[in-house]
Assembly symmetry: C2
Homo-oligomer: 209 residues x 2
């Protein structure tokens, strides 16, 4: 997905001659692109500025990545926002949801995470780019599965509630607060939404607090 000017198979000639593409350029440009994303967001990012800052000619950038979207996508591909993937057993569904919520909140309050979340929801970005951003923002998806298994074992997860529903509620509420209302994701807020979600998940009759 990177190179495009294929050396191709020249009929009668040397196969591996010529100057190879510089890996340093690739690195410099992509990492600078990430900084640009953080600073200016995905719409405000400028290829020329990226090239200048990476001390590379604009042409060399365009030779590798044909459009700004492709460049941004390539930069995002190497991001792996670590989500402390392994949410451990916290003893109760409420505590686990709160830990997960805190992780997502931290992500949404970081410049890169916020930028990614907006990118995933923007309209102008291509579908592939949106999918890429979504992959990062929605990383907790995996975590929820383990969480549900433990909650079911504890009798804290009523039958018939899909994990996606819980994810939408938890992440959605954080998105609403962070991006729409532009308010801070305080521990108090996280606790209040988790309280409602955990309460709504409990099977009828089982009430512990």
């Amino acid at each position: 997905m990177s190179r495009q000017k294929k050396p191709s198979s020249r009929p009668g000639g040397r196969r591996d001659a010529g100057r190879p593409r510089g890996a340093p350029i690739e690195d410099a440009v992509l990492s600078r692109t990430l900084e640009e994303l953080v600073e200016h967001g995905i719409e405000g990012a400028s290829v020329e500025r990226i090239a200048r800052a990476a001390e590379v000619n604009k042409t060399s950038v365009y030779r590798r990545w044909p459009t700004k979207g492709a460049l941004v996508a390539a930069a995002l591909e190497r991001v792996a926002l670590e989500l402390g993937g392994k949410l451990e057993d916290q003893g109760s569904l409420g505590r686990e949801l709160e830990a997960l919520g805190a992780h997502v909140a931290a992500l949404l309050e970081s410049p890169l995470g916020r930028s990614l979340a907006r990118a995933a929801m923007a309209e102008s970005v291509g579908v592939e780019l949106a999918a890429l951003a979504l992959r990062e923002v929605d990383r907790p998806r995996e975590a929820v599965l383990g969480l549900r298994a433990r909650a079911q074992a504890r009798g804290e997860w009523r039958d018939g509630v899909a994990p996606e529903t819980v994810l939408a509620l938890l992440v959605g509420a954080l998105l609403h607060r962070a991006l729409l209302e532009r308010a801070a994701l305080t521990p108090g807020f996280i606790a209040s939404i988790v309280e409602v979600i955990a309460g709504g998940l409990k099977p009828a009759g089982v009430r512990s607090e």
Copy 2:
């Protein structure tokens, strides 16, 4: 907030002379701007295209609204997305939340509503514009207050849960589904999130289903 070249008080001269600004132009441009927003989103909107379609010179547009942001803001100001504001008493909290959710879902599935929601969360738009879009998207805020009063009277709303929390959960989950996952807001989905929220709101011990 519209006119800017004030006729001012000329010392010795007529006060109200000259050609007045044409209201038809204002109307044509603003309504065309809304269509442009629906078609191209807030970033992709082009002032030149708007002017052409409204059969008005670009200059005349810029004379009234100094920037694209101001133009879009002015267009949004005259929008009043009616939310069937008066959600009636539906007999139970669950049914009321479902009705409210259905309203918001319909809004989020309409082109203009979707465009507004994205605008409210975008980064590049000015603060004033974001606030304007938020005002429309978050219109259910008022409805939730009446809803809570009735739910409290029915004993379906546990003490200490803020209406904002419920709004964030409900609207947030819909945003997550519609904009992030880009999936349809089916009645089934709405029912599933409402079920969890309503369950989580009930006071301990009160379980009806």
